[in-house]
């Protein structure tokens, strides 16, 4: 498959990570959602939210990327993406922009990137002032700690 030379990524920040997902994968961006806690669930699951009658899990990307906890009082933003035909909300610190990226700037993550980060990203775009990592949505929302390594080409 030949990639188009330009892609539009919805970009956001989690801790000190700049992440992006294809705009077409984003269903909506929401602020201030009531979250229902699910006792006993995976630590990444902040809880469940009501998306117009559809119940979706909210996953905290800070926990997922093993970053320090969000400071008390700061409101996360819900980036609602679709994976396996199910809506999932990703909790991020802030939404940045919709960024045009050139495919020639893309590079796979180097081995030195910590495994906890590397297994969740597809690679990085080298932007002028920082690196923009593209999130592997399917892997990010799959919380089984023993998931199999898939062919990643």
């Amino acid at each position: 498959m030949t990639l188009p030379s330009h892609r539009k990524l919805c970009t956001f920040r989690v801790g000190d990570l700049y992440l992006g997902v294809d705009v077409l994968d984003v269903q909506e961006v929401l602020y201030h959602q009531e979250i229902t806690e699910v006792p006993g669930s995976h630590e990444t699951v902040s809880g469940l939210i009501n998306l117009r009658g559809q119940v979706a899990a909210a996953l905290d990307l800070r926990v997922r990327f093993k970053l320090p906890e969000r400071t008390e009082g700061s409101q996360p933003v819900h980036v609602v993406v679709r994976s396996n035909d199910e809506a999932v909300s990703l909790l991020v610190d802030e939404i940045i922009d919709v960024t045009d990226v050139a495919t020639e700037d893309f590079e796979e993550a180097p081995d030195t990137v910590p495994l906890s980060t590397r297994e969740l990203i597809k690679g990085a775009y080298k932007l002028d002032d920082h690196l923009l990592f593209t999130l592997d949505i399917d892997r990010t929302v799959q919380l089984d700690p023993y998931f199999t390594t898939e062919d990643h080409s």
Binding site: V38, L48, N50, G53, Q54
Partner: protein, 769 residues
């Protein structure tokens, strides 16, 4: 292309499903050419589509089947069970191949050669019988008939009669005129009365008319993806919640003049909800349609004759429920044919016709759907069931004797139970009826069984109309709201005392005394890993039932009951066992639905000793008064108490330390000229040893007689003799004089005593004195 294949599979599958039924009808009514034509047409159109889509093997199978059918149509060949078998096999093969096509887009590599040979052989019989010319491939003689339209000029009865040349057009017009002038007889009747045609011709025309109208009906329905309906259902659920908010708002602001608008929104939403619910409803007949085939194959295999009768096939149920009861229903039907209905040799002796009757009946009954599966077979012999259960060790003889016939029937639902003397391919393995019961209960249904020996057996299944909306109790615990399905709910209890006083400890498990019975308690806070509640002045207990286990769930607060729309758990939390689903509440927030069976299981209340549970529950339901009227109350030290029927105790004795000797490390005493072992009762009951306190001599001993031998049960003190108020059962625990008391079950501990006695006796022989 994928879309075309998908449509082909769906349409062909529908046709194939119909063929199962049609072939069964054909077997009993071989002269029914309407059915024969229908079967032929279905196969023909599959064959045609296969040729177009290039599924060669599938086309060949359909073609050979079609050839055989065309011989039947020409009456060259008569319908025999063998031919029906071959045609059913054809249908099965096509179905499997279609499934493969549906999954992969390819027809697969299923070996069909054997089937093709069989079909060929059947067709060849026809040729030999009549020496009819072999139908040539691709153009069966009857193909022309297919293209012939049923009625050329609309589907009015008069037109059909005219087209068939049964009447003159002018006569029809006269009859129509008479109708216009006020004659209210149907047109066919007028024509017959006027002697313009015969009743049989009219009947024929009416059949054609029905067929043609049936065809037109296809245009008035469309295929809708179930996912889309689910989504609609979800949205309507949301609309209902929004409606509730608006109605509430309107009530609080009567001056705003939008009350009438809110009222009509209310009505429209309710109607919309009902309408969308209906789209998911399917007649149970869709499910039943598969049963005649099951019954036919099975009864042929078993050499039985079974007729199937259906009543209420148009009773509608939610699609998910239909799916859920499919297997249980099939299982009961198979069991009925296998065990229920007698062989054709035995039936006439009982004054019954050779063919047994299997009757399916469905009806609505107060928000529930009742499905009855009954037969006119031999019935279930309760005594046989009991004997079998005792033999396989599932219940004791004592329990069996106390069991009424009606209770005994429910033994068939005990896991691992089977009455069949021999294991057949169909049943008799003892797997199944327990699964049937579990599956039905899982969807909030119940199953009852009634039987009369020699007359027949009836299974009555009651299930809810829909799973999508269920009544539930909402509770609050540790700041979260939870919904508990009302099917599991028995009652609500609020204690007047705080936890430390209201609940008692029994074997390390908290229990609550509910009307003299001990109710095991599960703390929801503990289950979901939350810290215990502080400063509570009372305890809220939700009494629940899961399978046959009753238990109390402690929650912080009981809110209210309401209808909730059940939504599946999302993938990320589905692995948490405590929840069965989620729902959205009136305020728009999400609440979790508690999985009651799982909570009971997590707390170790069921599953582990299920056989024992069932027997215990059965014994409990019998409620026979015990013969033991008085019981002996024993102190085991450390606040522990035990009770045993006085009738099993022969004497109460005290022994001095000097009297106690040891044989094979077993403390014994010489008692009335023989050796009597001493057993620490607290230790055998698992209540911890109270360490025969040799310092506090003499020892209190209750002498218990078991099969002629005597055993001394060592206790701390013998307290009293009390009257049995009927609540005391061996092997359980109960409350006597305000204390939790273990009731000694002599039966259960008998084997311990036996083994000890044998040991001692062998020691005695060895001592040779």
């Amino acid at each position: 292309m994928d879309e075309i294949i998908g449509e082909f599979v769906v349409e062909s599958m529908e046709g194939i499903d119909r063929l199962d039924q049609s072939l069964i009808v054909l077997e009993t009514d071989p002269a029914n050419h309407g059915i024969l034509d229908d079967i032929f047409r279905t196969l023909h159109s599959i064959k045609g589509a296969c040729g177009f889509l290039d599924f060669a093997a599938l086309e060949k199978v359909a073609h050979r089947g079609e050839n055989l059918l065309s011989l039947l149509r020409e009456d060259t060949l008569k319908v025999t069970p063998e031919i029906t078998d071959a045609l059913l096999a054809t249908v099965d093969t096509i179905r499997t191949m279609l499934e493969t096509v549906g999954e992969t887009g390819e027809e697969g590599t299923k070996d069909v050669s054997e089937l093709l040979v069989t079909l060929e052989r059947m067709a060849a019989q026809g040729d030999r019988q009549t020496e009819a010319p072999e139908p040539t491939a691709g153009s069966t003689p009857s193909e022309a008939d297919l293209e012939e339209p049923v009625a050329s000029d609309g589907d009015r009865l008069g037109d059909i009669l005219t087209d068939d040349g049964d009447t003159e057009r002018v006569d029809v017009e006269i009859a129509a005129k008479e109708q216009e002038l006020g004659d209210d007889r149907p047109i066919g009747e007028i024509l017959v009365d006027e002697k313009k045609t015969t009743p049989s011709k009219v009947d024929e025309a009416l059949t054609k008319q029905a067929e043609s109208r049936g065809n037109n009906q296809v245009d008035s329905t469309i295929r809708v993806d179930v996912k889309l309906l689910d989504k609609l259902m979800n949205l309507v659920g949301e609309l209902v919640l929004t409606r509730n908010q608006i109605v509430e708002l309107a009530e609080n602001h009567p001056e705003e003049h939008f009350t009438p608008t809110a009222h009509s929104l209310n009505l429209i939403t309710s109607e919309l909800q009902e309408g969308v619910m209906k789209t998911r409803m399917q007649p149970i007949g869709n499910l039943w349609a598969k049963l005649p085939r099951v019954v036919r194959d099975l009864s042929r295999q078993m050499g039985k004759k079974v007729e199937i009768e259906m009543d209420g096939a148009d009773t509608e149920l939610d699609k998910t429920i239909i799916e859920a009861i499919k297997d249980p229903l099939t299982h009961i039907v198979r069991n009925t044919v296998d065990h229920g209905i007698e062989s054709p040799e035995d039936r006439p002796a009982a004054g019954k016709p050779e063919a047994g009757i299997l009757r399916l009946k469905a009806s609505h009954e107060g928000g529930l759907v009742t499905i009855e599966i009954s037969d006119d077979g031999a019935g279930i012999d309760a005594d046989k069931l009991k004997a079998k259960a005792v033999r396989s060790g599932q219940i004791t003889e004592e329990v069996a004797n106390q069991m009424g016939d009606n209770e005994a029937l429910y033994l068939i639902f005990v896991p691992g139970f089977s009455t069949a003397d021999k294991v057949s391919a169909v049943s008799g393995r003892g797997v199944g009826m327990d699964v049937v019961k579990t599956n039905i209960e899982r969807i909030g249904g119940t199953v009852e069984v009634r039987t009369e020996i020699g007359v027949g057996t009836t299974f009555k299944i009651k299930i809810p109309l829909t799973l999508a909306i269920i009544p539930a109790l909402t509770v609050r615990c540790a700041g979260s709201r939870f919904a508990i399905p009302q099917v599991n709910l028995l009652e609500l209890v609020r204690t007047s005392a705080p936890r430390s006083e209201a609940l008692e400890d029994f074997h390390g498990t908290p229990v609550y005394r509910l009307r003299g019975r001990l109710l095991p308690i599960v703390d929801l806070r503990q289950q979901i890993g939350k810290p215990p509640r502080e400063n509570e002045r009372s305890v809220n207990i939700v009494v629940l039932q899961a399978d046959d286990v009753h238990f109390g769930l402690v929650v912080d607060e009981i809110l209210d009951t309401q209808e909730i729309v059940v939504k599946p758990l999302c993938a990320q939390v589905s692995s948490v066992p405590h929840y069965s689903g989620s729902t959205t509440m009136g305020d728009g927030r999400v609440a979790l639905i508690l999985d009651v069976m799982n909570l009971a299981g997590e707390a170790g209340l069921n599953s582990a000793n299920k056989n024992y549970d069932v027997a215990a529950v059965l014994a409990e339901s019998v409620q026979t008064p015990r013969s033991e009227d008085t019981i002996l109350l024993l102190d085991l030290g450390g606040e522990k108490r035990a009770a045993m029927p006085l009738s099993t105790v022969t004497r109460l004795e005290k022994f001095e330390l000097t009297e106690i000797e040891s044989a094979k490390e077993q403390p014994v005493v010489q008692y009335r000229g023989s050796i009597m072992p001493l057993i620490d009762l607290a230790a055998t009951l698992g209540l911890g040893s109270h360490e025969m306190q040799y310092g506090e001599m003499p020892l209190s001993v209750a002498v218990y007689s078991h099969e002629g031998s005597e055993v001394g049960l060592v206790v701390s003190a013998i307290l009293d003799i009390v009257d049995n108020d009927g609540l005391i059962e061996p092997g359980s625990a109960c409350v006597i004089r305000g204390k939790v008391t273990e009731v000694v079950d002599p039966q259960a501990y008998g084997h311990i005593y036996n083994s000890r006695i044998e040991e001692i006796q062998s020691a005695e022989a060895g001592a040779s004195w």
